[in-house]
C-alpha cells in the first residue's frame, strides 16, 4: 500500500463522500483539498463556505492557509463575516461540514477543548470549539476527519465540544435544540465509518484493501458495528493523484506534509 500516502487517502475519501449541488463548510487543509477534488471530478457544482464569511470563492491563488485568508475570499460570490457564514448555515444552506478534534466517541460526539485535569485547570487545553461546535449543530451532515488511534476513538471523551448523537437516544439532538441531522461519516487513513440508523452508533463501512475489521477494531476504544455490506476503500487513480497534487494543493502545503499528531 506504500504507493498511497495517508493524506492522499483521506483527501480522496473526503471527496468521494461529498455530493454535487451541495454547499460544503470547510476548514483549512484536507477539507479544502477534498472539496476541490470533488469539484474537479464528480461534483462540479459543489461550493465551499468558509467561516470567516466567503461563499463560492475561486481558489486560484493556491491553498488558503487560514479560513480567513485573502485566498479564501478570491472571486467569491458573497463575502461577509462570521455572522454571514453561520447565519446561512443555521438557515439550512450548508449541507456538509468537515470537522476535526482530539477525541471522538461511538456516537460521533467530538472533543476539541481539553484532555486531562478538569475544565477549569486542564492538563492539555486545545484551542476550543472555533467553528466546529456550530458546524456540528447546524450543518446538515457532519464529516469528521480523525487519526485512527485508540486514545482518539475513545469510550468516554473528556468534553463534548461538537454534538454528535449524544447518548444515542433518538431525541438527543432535538432536545438539545440543534437543526442538523448529525454525524454522517468519519474518515481516517485506514477506514471509513458511518453511523447505524437504528442505534446511531459508529459503524465500519469501508476498510483499506488488505485490512480486516479486527485490525480496525484494535485501534478503536469502543465496540464498532460492522456494516453487513463492508467494502474496501477505493484508492485514488493516477488521474486523481494528478488532480490532488497539481490542482488542489500545488504547493504541497498539506499533501506533502508527514502525517502528524
Amino acid at each position: 500500500m506504500s504507493e498511497y500516502s495517508p493524506i492522499e487517502i483521506i483527501a480522496y475519501t473526503g471527496s468521494r463522500v461529498l455530493q454535487d449541488e451541495s454547499i460544503v463548510f470547510v476548514g483549512t487543509g484536507l477539507p479544502i483539498i477534498a472539496a476541490m477534488h470533488a469539484q474537479l471530478t464528480h461534483a462540479p457544482n459543489i461550493n465551499m463556505i468558509f467561516e470567516a464569511g466567503s461563499l463560492a470563492a475561486i481558489l486560484e491563488q493556491g491553498m488558503p492557509l487560514s479560513v480567513g485568508d485573502t485566498r479564501a475570499f478570491r472571486k467569491a460570490a458573497f463575502a461577509k463575516g462570521l455572522c454571514g457564514a453561520f447565519e446561512l448555515t443555521q438557515r439550512g444552506y450548508a449541507d456538509f461540514a468537515f470537522i476535526g478534534g482530539a477525541q471522538i466517541d461511538m456516537y460521533g460526539n467530538i472533543n476539541s477543548h481539553f484532555e486531562g485535569g478538569d475544565y477549569t485547570q486542564p492538563q492539555t487545553r486545545f484551542p476550543g470549539s472555533g467553528g466546529a461546535g456550530a458546524m456540528a449543530a447546524s450543518c446538515e451532515k457532519t464529516i469528521a476527519i480523525m487519526a485512527l488511534e485508540k486514545r482518539r476513538f475513545a469510550e468516554k471523551i473528556s468534553f463534548v465540544t461538537s454534538i454528535g448523537y449524544g447518548d444515542g437516544s433518538p431525541d438527543y439532538r432535538k432536545k438539545a435544540g440543534v437543526y442538523g441531522s448529525g454525524p454522517y461519516r468519519v474518515i481516517t487513513n485506514q477506514a471509513l465509518f458511518g453511523f447505524c440508523e437504528k442505534t446511531r452508533r459508529m459503524m465500519l463501512l469501508e476498510v483499506l484493501p488488505g485490512k480486516k475489521p479486527e485490525d480496525i477494531q484494535e485501534l478503536v476504544g469502543f465496540e464498532l458495528l460492522i456494516s453487513p455490506d463492508l467494502k474496501e476503500m477505493a484508492m485514488p487513480s493516477e488521474e486523481d493523484k494528478k488532480i490532488l497534487y497539481e490542482k488542489c494543493d500545488p504547493d504541497g502545503y498539506f499533501l506533502k506534509r508527514a502525517v502528524q499528531k
Binding site: G68, F73, H113, T120, T124, S129, G131, A137, K175, Y253
Partner: protein
C-alpha cells in the same frame, strides 16, 4: 421563559462538583451590561468630528484597568496588532478579553503578562478559539490554562459572533441553534430554554458589550466611517457593541468617497472614538487588498512562547517585548526593524485583491 436541560448531563465527563458549581454560579456580564453600553452611546458626542490621532493618545484615553477588551479580526486575519503593541506598551491590569478566534494578539497580551506581571495582566477570556491555526497551538494559552491562571468561558465562533451582534443590536441576549447538547451548555453562561413560540429547545446567549473594541480596517475617513474588504470577521458587530472603539486603518480616505458609496460603510462614525492611520497595522497578520501573512514572524514569537512553556525560562519572551514593543516608540519603529523587501513581498503575495478606496 422555561429553562430546560438537554441530556448532556447523561454523557458528560465533567465532575459532579464542576457541574454543581456551574449550576449555582449567579449570572454576570464580564464587562458592561447592555444598559451600561447604551448609556455610553447616549453620552457620546455624535457629530462628525476629525477623530484622527496617534496610537499613543488613543490608547491612553481609552485603556483602563479591569476593562473588557474586544479584539477584532479572525485568527491571523486583519488583527489589531499595532493596537495590541500599544496596549502592552502602556500596560493595564485585570483585563477581560473577548473575541471569537485569535492567535498572536491574545498571545502577545498574555506573553507580556508572563514577562512583566506588574505591568499588564489578563484575568479571563470569553472566546471560541485561541490558537495559531496551521502554525500550531497557542503555547501561552495552554500554559496559563494548565495552571488555572486564566479563567475561560467557551462558546462557538458563531456564539461569540452573535453575542457581539446582540451587543450591537442593543439586545441583552440572542437565541442560537448551537451549544445545546454539548458540554458548553453546562460550562458557559448561556441557557437552554423552551422557545415560547415554537416550543423547541433553543439556546440563549448573553450579549457581549466590550468596554473597548480594537479594530483594524482597510480604509476609513477621519470621522471613523470604515470600509472592510475580504472577511468582515466580526468587526462591524464588535465595534458597534463596544462602549468605545479605536480604529486603525491602512489608509484614511476622503469623506466624499464615503458619501459616494455609503453602502460600503461597515462601521458608522458614531461608534468610533479614535482613528489612527497605521499602514501594516495587522502585520504579521494579513490584510486583504494590502498584504498577506508573514508566517516566519508568527513562528518566531510562537517559538519564544513555546520555549517558555517547556522550560519556564522567560528570557526569549522578555527579549521579544524589550526589542519589538518597549524598544519601539511607535508601530512604525517596529515595522522599521523589518526589511523593506520583506514588507514589499507581502504586498505582492496579496496579489492585488480588489478594494474600493475612491
Amino acid at each position: 421563559m422555561k429553562f430546560i436541560q438537554s441530556d448532556v448531563r447523561k454523557i458528560t465527563s465533567l465532575s459532579p462538583e464542576e457541574v454543581k458549581k456551574r449550576d449555582e454560579r449567579p449570572f454576570e456580564f464580564w464587562g458592561p451590561t447592555p444598559s451600561d453600553a447604551r448609556k455610553a452611546a447616549v453620552n457620546k458626542k455624535k457629530g462628525l468630528h476629525d477623530k484622527s490621532t496617534t496610537l499613543k493618545d488613543a490608547v491612553k484615553k481609552h485603556l483602563k484597568d479591569g476593562i473588557n477588551l474586544g479584539i477584532g479580526g479572525f485568527v491571523n486575519t486583519r488583527v489589531p496588532v499595532a493596537l495590541t503593541h500599544e496596549i502592552i506598551r502602556q500596560g493595564a491590569k485585570d483585563l477581560t478579553l473577548s473575541f471569537q478566534s485569535i492567535s498572536m494578539c491574545a498571545e502577545l497580551l498574555v506573553g507580556a503578562m508572563i514577562a512583566f506581571p506588574d505591568h499588564i495582566s489578563v484575568k479571563r477570556a470569553e472566546i471560541a478559539w485561541w490558537g495559531y491555526e496551521i502554525i500550531g497551538i497557542a503555547p501561552l494559552f495552554r500554559h496559563l490554562t494548565s495552571r488555572g491562571e486564566i479563567e475561560v468561558d467557551d462558546y462557538t465562533n458563531f456564539g461569540m459572533s452573535i453575542r457581539f451582534k446582540a451587543g450591537a443590536m442593543g439586545l441583552p441576549f440572542i437565541p442560537i441553534k448551537d451549544h445545546g447538547g454539548s458540554d458548553m451548555e453546562i460550562v458557559n453562561r448561556g441557557k437552554l430554554v423552551e422557545c415560547p413560540f415554537s416550543g423547541d429547545s433553543v439556546y440563549l446567549l448573553p450579549a457581549c458589550n466590550p468596554d473597548l473594541a480594537i479594530i483594524h480596517v482597510n480604509a476609513c475617513d477621519v470621522h471613523g466611517n470604515s470600509r472592510i474588504f475580504g472577511a468582515l470577521c466580526t468587526c462591524p458587530e464588535i465595534a458597534q457593541a463596544a462602549c468605545h472603539t479605536i480604529i486603525t486603518t491602512e489608509k484614511i480616505i476622503d469623506t466624499d468617497s464615503i458619501r459616494q458609496h455609503p453602502n460600503l460603510t461597515e462601521i458608522p462614525f458614531p461608534v468610533v472614538d479614535a482613528v489612527v492611520e497605521q499602514p501594516f497595522g495587522s502585520y504579521p497578520g494579513a490584510c486583504y487588498g494590502n498584504y498577506w501573512f508573514d508566517m516566519p514572524e508568527f513562528l518566531e514569537f510562537r517559538k519564544a512562547g513555546d520555549e517558555f512553556r517547556k522550560t519556564g525560562n522567560k528570557d526569549k519572551l522578555k527579549e521579544y517585548f524589550d526589542k519589538y514593543v518597549f524598544g519601539c516608540e511607535t508601530f512604525d519603529d517596529f515595522l522599521a526593524t523589518r526589511p523593506y523587501k520583506k514588507l514589499k513581498e507581502l504586498r505582492i503575495q496579496d496579489q492585488g485583491q480588489s478594494t474600493i478606496l475612491i
